[in-house]
Symmetry: C2
Subunit: 125 residues, 2 copies
Amino acid sequence: MVKLDFAKGDGLVPAIAQDWKTGEILMLAYINEEAWNETLKTGNATYWTRSRKKIWRKGESSGNVQKVKEIYVDCDEDTVIFKVEQIGGAACHEGFRTCFFRKVEGNMLKVIGERVFNPDEVYNK
Amino acid sequence: MVKLDFAKGDGLVPAIAQDWKTGEILMLAYINEEAWNETLKTGNATYWTRSRKKIWRKGESSGNVQKVKEIYVDCDEDTVIFKVEQIGGAACHEGFRTCFFRKVEGNMLKVIGERVFNPDEVYNK
């Protein structure tokens, strides 16, 4: 297994999910060693949620899993990129393709993304 | 000023530097509130180094500054993307265009990036 430096971030390493075809950055989440190993084993992006403090199999409730096509590791081995195919077309729980759907314009945040799904319909069905 | 959620990460928020033209992810570093404000004010990517525990004006020693063209903020306001023009063509202190110059292949890391500069020449001149 490829080893990462989990010590620097108290057991967590940030993982950037990037669309494997367009290069668009979809989201950033964290992985611990268990999530890393599970991602390598299953080929589905698996994270650790800091708020719920547990393994987070992305797409388990929404169906929007991320198929990991390639993984890149940085020079310090404390950050990774998952190049993914985002099933369902939306990575963000708010229904946008990317979590980065807002751009800084002056002192404001301007929504520039478009909603792919309505979160109320996906999570409460 | 646009406010970010610095509390969740003990005062730090990850900032992803992405090439503004090609979409290539160059590096990930951290910002505190001071670095965030300085980035907004100067237009040059400014970080906080966790190892040296101080403000890090990227490119101050190497000359390889990052001109921030656009900034995106995620849904939780705890991660940002700096779309940058990387002066000198290399973001990584090891001389590669991107810090993510290695790819996971089986149980190995394979170098797939090409060196833009020799770090010995740039940092010890």
